[in-house]
Structure formats: C-alpha cells, structure tokens
C-alpha cells in the first residue's frame, strides 16, 4: 500500500522535516503516527496525498510514485484517498449533504446520484437525520463524524487522519476512533497522526514514532 525508501524532505528554508525514512505499510493496517510537534507528522501526511513532494528518496502510495508523479496522477491519488483534516475543515456555508458530497462531486457526480451514497455514509456515523443541517449547528464530535463520513464517501482504500481527536473530549474521541476502527475492519488502511497516546490502550494499532524528522519506532502496539 505504502512504501518509503530513504525518504527525505528539506524545505526551502533549509529545515529538514524528514530524513531517511524507510517503512512499508501494508494494506488494511491501522497506523498511529506519533511524535512531538515539529517531528514531521504533518509533512509525512501531506506527502502521502501529494501535497508536497519528497526532496529525495522514494514514496509510493497506492502504486503512485509521489516524487515523480504528474499532476494528473496526483489528482487520481487524491481521489483514491480520504483525508480527515486537523480541525475537520467543514464548509460552514454549506449543508452537511454538500460537505459530505464533496469528494464525489469533484468527480462530476450530480445531486440525485450523490444522495443515496451520502445518506449511507451519514448513517454509518449516525448522523443521517442531519443531512440538511449546517456544520455550525453540530457539536464538535458530530462535526468530526461528518468529516469521517466525507473521507469515506468515495470508498477509498486509504484514509489519512490528521489529529482527528485533537479537540474532542475522551468519550467523543473514543467514539470517533471506534468509527475509524470499524472502517479499518472493512479493509481500509488508516493512518492517523495523533497526540492522544492514551487512545492506543483501547484501540490498538501499528505505532510509528517520529522525532526530528527521523523514524524512532515502528512496531505493533499490544493492547494493554
């Protein structure tokens, strides 16, 4: 699914965000990406959907070599990848339906075709009755569930989640993680950047730790 070989990212300012990362993530994994702020988590996440390109080394995501990929290939990679952003990034001026529909809308789907699909994913996250509400009327946890619904709409084989539980209380965070786990059980690879290490105790997965752009550990975290 994802292959990294001597992956390196140096910004124009000279700062090295990632250095010499070697890692393989198989299909169907649930990976926690942990590390302090500035460790390179967000850089690695952005790289995995083609937001930035490696300075050197190789990164292959779902068969696409990110470093040398054309813009067309990057677009296709993004269409096959679900992204849950830090702070969910829902559009407040648009309804939940319009927000969730976005990944397939950009592929040209019309409203009639989108409706059953959007309803299906919203029912998965338990928000089917909020189809015509606006994000601001939802709680933080509900908004994050909408973000999950949006990420899973196009049935992607990979979901990248950047701090999806960052601003949530423990119970809501666990509920969000339950949803991601459920998606993982359906075969979707989940890569989740997080600071909430206590969640690992209840939701086990592969832990990848970064420190100052370098890989520290990559191991199966046992359920405690």
């Amino acid at each position: 699914m994802i292959h990294m070989s001597n992956l390196m990212m140096r910004y124009k300012t000279g700062k090295v965000a990632l250095s010499g990362i070697n890692m393989d993530i198989p299909q169907g994994s649930f990976v926690y990406l942990i590390g302090e702020s500035g460790a390179g988590k967000s850089t690695l996440m952005k790289m995995m959907y083609g937001g930035i390109r490696p300075t050197s080394g190789q990164l292959e995501v779902q068969g696409t070599k990110v470093r040398d990929a054309s813009e067309h290939q990057i677009r296709e990679l993004r269409q096959r990848t679900g992204i849950i952003f830090q702070g969910n990034r829902l559009l407040n001026s648009r309804t939940i339906f319009e927000n969730v529909a976005l990944p397939l809308r950009v592929q040209g789907w019309d409203a009639e075709r989108l409706l059953p699909r959007v309803k299906k994913v919203l029912s998965f996250v338990g928000l089917e009755d909020r189809l015509w509400s606006y994000p601001e009327t939802l709680s933080g946890g509900e908004q994050q569930r909408v973000a999950i619904a949006r990420a899973m709409l196009s049935n992607p084989s990979l979901i990248l989640a950047d701090e999806p539980t960052g601003n949530l209380d423990d119970d809501t965070a666990r509920h969000v993680l339950d949803l991601l786990m459920a998606l993982n059980k359906l075969g979707t690879t989940i890569i989740m950047a997080t600071h909430d290490l206590h969640l690992l105790t209840s939701h086990p997965g592969l832990v990848v730790q970064l420190r100052q752009g370098a890989l520290v550990t990559g191991q199966q975290h046992e359920k405690v």
């Binding site: 952005k46 959907y49 937001g51 930035i52 390109r53 813009e71 990057i74 677009r75 296709e76 990679l77 993004r78 269409q79 992204i83 990034r89 559009l91 648009r94 309804t95 339906f97 319009e98 529909a101 976005l102 990944p103 809308r105 950009v106 592929q107 040209g108 019309d110 409203a111 009639e112 989108l114 409706l115 059953p116 309803k119 299906k120 029912s123 089917e128 189809l131 015509w132």
Partner: protein, 300 residues
C-alpha cells in the same frame, strides 16, 4: 434506511432548488458584489456604446459610408472656353481618381429631384446653373489634395463646393476620432476586465477554503475554475444587455436633433457587440482572477 436511500425524499426535492454543489457547471450564488460589478460594467459599456453611437451619427452626417468621395467645381457658362483647361489641370493633381464634366441631362435630373417633383420647369432652371465638374478623390488621400483643388479652381476663376470640402475634412477628423474611439474602447475593456476580475477575486477569497478542499480531493483545474469563468461571462453579457437597454432613452431624446442632421441612429446594430463584448470582457476578467489561484503543488 434502504427505502429512503433509493428514492429522493420530499425534503431532498425541497432543498434541491437552493442546493449549490461546488465546481463544474454550477454557478456561485449571486450576491451584492456581483450586482455592483454588473452596474459598474454596464455603465462602462454604456459609455462605449455612446462613443460608437456618436461615431455612427457622425459618419452618416458626413456620408463617409460612400465608397467614393467626390467634390464639385463650378464654372460660369460664359467661361466655357476655360472648362477644358480646368479639367486638364485638375487631372494633373496627384491623388485625383477621375475628373468628368456633369452632363446637362444629369444637371436637369438633379434639379427635378431638388425641386421635389413640383410643377416647375426644371429644364429652364438648370439652364441658369453653372457648368459642373465632378472630381473623384483617390483613397487614401494626400494631405495637400484639397488645397491643390482650391488653387486650380481659383486660378481658373471657378468656384468650388466648400460644403463638400468641409464634409471631406470632417470625414478626416472622424477617422481620427474613430482611432481614439478604439483606444477608449480598449482602455475601458481592460478596466472592465479588472473590475470583473476584482469582484471574482473577492468571491474566490471568500471561497478559498472550498477551492482548496476541492483540489485536495482531486478536482481537475477546469472543474474548480469553470464556475468563476461562467460567472464572469454571464456578468459581462448581462452588463452588455443592461448597457444596450440604457442606450435607448438617449436615442429617443435626440430624435429631433437626428432628424435635423439627416441622421438615423440604430441601436440594434449595437446589441450583439455589447452582449458579446461584455461576455468576452467578463470571461477575460474571470481568467485573470482564476489565473492567480495558487497552484496545487504550492497549495499546502
């Protein structure tokens, strides 16, 4: 759940009319910014329309729509002997296409037409008219030709039709004004494109997050930009139509003045140029606005 996921619900039908899915052929909502831009562009297009309408009137007045420009030189019938030398001297002027003596028959026909078919003896009137030499000028015309014709006429004690010469000179001035009109049109078109571009840029800034998200989800560039280009196009075309409507009161209010100058202004000939011109300017403004959307690779 299965039942409701298949058939569009009543609520979906209700929301569908107000639904504006982003991207593609879907136009962004029409707000106060667009109304203001439409009004400003309409006024600018109206100014352009007035300039070209005035030129149209000027051209009709000087008769520059004619293929050939002709002036007439008159010689008293008592000086018939100098007629041949007058024609020869006129032919020698560089820039003269043709010189010919107007026949008595033509003079009589002109007199009958001038008398308006009244029961008067045109033949006896025309006998008292001087002999007329018609001079056809070459185009493009040299700057000294008219003065040379005047000099030859004066040397032969002939009279020149000064009204015709003045119209020819007015036609020259109109030619210069036309160049200025093109210049003003281009400058105003650029200003209009910038106004549309600025309006769309404000809308783009307000919707930057949406554009960014669409790209992160793999939207094609045309899909992201098309709504804005469509909006610019419609905004320009709408402003063109509004300018055309606003032009009519001016045509009606100047009807008497037009009639006095034998001018008949046509607003209809400006309909398509205003609509298409407005649409082109609007689309250009949209392209300028969307060209500056940050490229996907640097978006993050």
């Amino acid at each position: 759940m299965k039942k409701s996921s298949r058939a569009p619900s009543k609520k979906f039908t209700e929301h569908k009319s107000s639904m504006r899915l982003p991207g593609g052929w879907q136009l962004p909502p029409f707000g106060v910014h667009q109304v203001l831009a439409l009004a400003i562009v309409a006024v600018a297009l109206w100014s352009v329309a007035i300039i070209w309408l005035a030129l149209q009137g000027g051209e009709q007045w000087v008769g520059s729509w004619q293929d050939e420009i002709k002036v007439h030189v008159y010689v008293d019938k008592n000086q018939q002997e100098s007629l041949a030398s007058l024609q020869a001297n006129l032919r020698d002027i560089d820039g003269i296409e043709d010189v010919r003596l107007v026949s008595d028959g033509e003079t009589q026909a002109w007199m009958e037409k001038w008398l308006g078919g009244e029961d008067l003896d045109a033949a006896s009137f025309s006998k008292h008219l001087p002999a007329s030499v018609e001079v056809t000028l070459q185009e493009p015309r040299g700057v000294t030709v008219l003065d040379e014709i005047r000099d030859v006429a004066a040397a032969q004690s002939a009279e020149i039709n000064e009204d015709e010469l003045q119209l020819v000179e007015a036609g020259d001035v109109l030619g210069s004004i036309q160049s200025l009109a093109w210049f003003a049109t281009i400058i105003l078109a650029m200003a209009m494109a910038l106004i549309v571009s600025n309006t769309l840029r404000m809308i783009l800034l307000a919707r930057a997050e949406e554009v960014h998200l669409m790209r992160l989800m793999g939207a094609k560039e045309w899909f992201v930009r098309l709504p804005f280009v469509l909006e610019g196009l419609l905004l320009g075309a709408g402003a063109g139509f509004a300018a055309w409507i606003l032009m009519w009161p001016l045509i009606w209010f100047t009807a008497d003045w037009q009639s006095n100058l034998s001018v008949d202004l046509s607003g209809w000939v400006l309909l398509l140029p205003l609509i298409f011109g407005g649409a082109v300017v609007g689309a250009l403004g949209a392209l300028i606005a969307t060209a500056n959307i940050v490229a996907p690779e640097t978006d993050s």
